[in-house]
Amino acid sequence: MPYPTDRKYTKEHEWITADGTIGITHHAQDSLGDIVFVELPKVGTEITVGKAFGTVESVKAVSDLFAPASGTVTGVNEDLATAPEKVNKDAHGAWMVKIKMKDPAEMNALLSAADYDKFVSEEAAH
């Protein structure tokens, strides 16, 4: 799976673009399996880098969403409330929240597409 290079990635399998759009990776949706429930914060909520800001559930598992950067939620993908399977179909298109980043420099600490790809393959090898 080629990971888009227009964004950065976390080791918890979230992605974030420079404009503060956040989602989960193709690898994450694949490990979760059929996604049936996404719980996201309301617009205006402050989220903190490394802290849980929402939940995604597959048939089998419950998983926290961790903030790749700190900021204020400015948009929520309401589609996912009724069609959470969109995350399985297109994880890199089906965004979850948009934030106004507090400190865009936080992105520098995240993984590039190539590094994330490497990280995922190494994880799979264990």
């Binding site: 059929d34 049936v36 429930f37 939940t55 089998k60």
Partner: protein
């Protein structure tokens, strides 16, 4: 310096383990077994697709982790009667029944399917996680009977062919006329060229289907697995993992050991009355159950359906509407066929009536749910078959 090394727990593998891996299955540890939880979306699988295949067509499961105990000898029936709660004397040869092994307190050692294979021969199919415990229990509690007890758990690869089309798939692979085999009966015949194979019209999916018991070597197991999948292709057969097995059994309210039934839950609480034959003169657990029958059942297993948005999961708390904790979820999941979020839960008997509104605590929030009739899913009665 001396180092005491703990022996790493051995994860057991079925003979089909490498086949599952080759097919790209997601593997998990389940009760000490390395088992497929689901197969990849790239081959049309995933828990939801696998679940739907079983409800509408057919799905194939490796259930070789299940254990088997054989009791044979002149007093085999008496031994089975002593250790199990259902009435095995009602079984004709080649008939099977759902039953349970109980502790003297009337709580569960395990639930089992008792198959009568011959005049004086019975096969108990038991859970994977309780194999050794069950075998020791059965052996230790049947010493007074003239009956041989054998642990055959590693003697079979067990494949479940489940769904309304399961019979059609297996019929292509055997010389036996399966239309003559009723639900919860067994037969023997040639399967994929293997002689004298046990086939039971049993399963754990709340659907029609068969479970076959074949030799446990990897080569035979893999060959039969692939032949079954190939024979099922025209019916849309897919391989299914433990994920779908769990959601299927939950829709049908089939209990899972360690969840709905445990060593602290008794038969009345679990609502398994109809499989417990108190008119049998005696069996382990009988006296305690007799006594418990005269007392008020304090908690009851109920079905819940989520009313508000949220998914109840195993172990979540059940609250009354006012917020007081009253019980717990034993199994909870989205139900792929019913397209609802359902759960089984123990609640006080006075809050167990259908229609009662309760809450399930999900991440600190009470989310509304309702007690509903069970089973959540019942398979449609089959119309008479034309062939």
């Amino acid at each position: 310096m001396s180092v005491v090394e703990a022996t790493p727990p051995v994860v057991r593998k079925t003979a089909l383990n490498s086949v599952h891996r080759q097919m790209g299955a997601k593997m998990v540890e389940f009760n000490g077994w390395d088992m497929p939880v689901e197969y990849p979306a790239s081959i049309g699988c995933g828990i939801v697709a696998e679940h739907m295949a079983v409800r509408t067509g057919v799905g194939i499961f490796d259930v070789s982790h299940m254990g088997d105990i054989r009791l044979a000898g002149p007093e085999a029936l008496a031994a089975v009667q002593h250790i199990s709660m259902n009435d095995a004397s009602r079984l004709a040869v080649e008939q099977a029944q759902y039953s349970a092994l109980l502790y003297p307190q009337g709580t569960f050692v395990d639930d089992v399917i008792v198959h009568r294979l011959g005049e004086d021969e019975y096969l108990l199919v038991i859970n994977a996680g309780t194999r050794e415990k069950d075998f020791n229990w059965v052996r230790d509690n049947t010493r007074q009977f003239d009956c041989k007890v054998e642990h055959l758990s590693d003697d079979f690869t067990q494949i479940a062919i489940q769904g309304p089309k399961g019979v059609d798939v297996l019929q292509k692979l055997t010389d036996r006329d399966l239309s003559a085999v009723k639900f919860y009966w067994v037969t023997r015949g040639t399967v994929c060229g293997l002689k004298n194979i046990l086939m039971g019209r049993t399963g754990y999916t709340a659907e029609d289907g068969f479970e076959i018991y074949i030799p446990p070597d990897e080569e035979t197991s893999a060959r039969v697995w692939h032949e079954v999948l190939k024979a099922g292709k025209e019916f849309g057969a897919v391989p299914c993992g433990l994920g779908a097995r769990n959601t299927l059994r939950l829709e049908g309210k089939l209990p899972l050991y360690g969840h709905e039934i445990t060593d602290t839950i008794n038969v009345w609480e679990a609502g398994l009355d109809r499989f417990c034959k108190m008119e049998k003169p005696d069996f382990i657990g009988h006296a305690a159950l007799e006594k418990a029958k005269t007392e008020v059942v304090k908690k009851t297993l109920v079905g819940l359906e989520m009313v508000d948005r949220g998914i109840a999961r195993d172990g979540y708390k059940v609250l009354e509407v006012g917020g007081r904790e009253i019980g717990y979820v034993t199994s909870g999941s989205p139900a792929p066929f019913l397209k609802k979020n359902i759960a089984l839960a123990y609640v006080p008997s006075e809050q167990a009536a259908v229609g009662t509104t309760v809450k399930v605590e999900i991440r600190g929030q009470g989310v509304k749910a309702q007690v509903v009739p069970t089973p959540f899913y019942k398979r449609p009665k089959k119309a008479a078959k034309s062939e």
